[in-house]
């Protein structure tokens, strides 16, 4: 099967230590979320994150961020892509996911654990994301998120 997913892996010196960068452009179709996650997780250098954190925290967080970017950022528009950049340092992994949308205000997303929202099908993505990683930071526009996973 041909795939439009082409991972670029680079090693670069930064701040006195070598960092590995993985970058991938993902088409705005939810069917690519799983394959993109596996492609990146499979090439993630061992080091800062334990196999367990890669299997669960890293994979789930990347899947959440990608799905949000494709659905709510790019509105499934095939002309738009989601850009993923993973920076792997000695004691930290930073995961940047950027869409081509107009952004949103993360503070306006309601708490999905409220009793009246508990049985809704959607609306848990950001909540789950915040609990899987050590830091979640959006840019001012709200179309790019940086997820930080500290070593462990």
């Amino acid at each position: 099967m041909t795939t439009p997913l082409h991972l670029d892996v680079r090693r670069r010196a930064g701040g006195g230590e070598t960092e590995t960068e993985l970058s991938l452009d993902v088409p705005s179709d939810l069917k690519y979320v799983g394959p993109a996650v596996e492609l990146i997780a499979g090439r993630l250098p061992s080091g800062p994150l334990s196999p367990r954190r890669i299997r669960f925290n890293f994979r789930t967080a990347l899947a959440e961020a990608l799905a949000n970017a494709i659905a709510y950022g790019n509105h499934h528009d095939p002309a738009r892509v989601v850009r993923v950049l993973v920076q792997v340092g000695h004691d930290v992994v930073r995961l940047h996911v950027t869409d081509e949308g107009d952004g949103f205000d993360p503070d306006e997303v309601p708490d999905p654990t409220l009793p009246e929202r508990l049985e809704l099908e959607d609306g848990r993505g950001l909540f789950v994301l915040r609990r899987l990683v050590d830091d979640v930071a959006f840019n001012a526009k709200g179309n790019s998120v940086c997820l930080t996973l500290l070593a462990g």
């Binding site: 799983g34 669960f56 799905a67 508990l118 099908e121 959607d122 789950v128 609990r131």
Partner: protein
């Protein structure tokens, strides 16, 4: 990544999730379970023993299926969650919506 459905001798539909339950494949699971519900199945167990990760869409599909099954007088239970997946259900408070057991045998015995 795939889903397997089997019926035990007491007509409980056991659904195995191999790999992941995420936004890209949740519709497939939903359709398979709804087909089984349409076919008369009322007792369902989703077995996560072979599951690596579940995203919020995967959680959402379980919530919606559980609701539909309960509306038909049935029940959907979960089993085989590892420590990380169990934590995911707890932090989203979905452990309060589902009966969760350690093994599929315990889930079947509880029906």
């Amino acid at each position: 990544m795939s889903f397997t459905l089997r019926k035990d001798k007491h007509s409980v539909v056991v659904v195995g999730v191999d790999g992941q339950l995420i936004v890209g494949n949740r519709q497939e699971l939903k359709q398979k379970v709804l087909d089984a519900l349409e076919g008369g199945g009322r007792k369902f167990v989703v077995d996560f023993t072979k599951t690596g990760y579940i995203d919020s869409s995967g959680l959402g599909v379980l919530v919606s299926l559980s609701k539909k099954i309960r509306e038909q007088g049935g029940d959907l239970r979960l089993c085989g969650l590892n420590e990380d997946l169990q934590t995911l259900f707890e932090l989203t408070k979905l452990d309060t919506l589902f009966a969760i057991t350690r093994t599929s045998e315990e889930a079947l015995a509880a029906f």
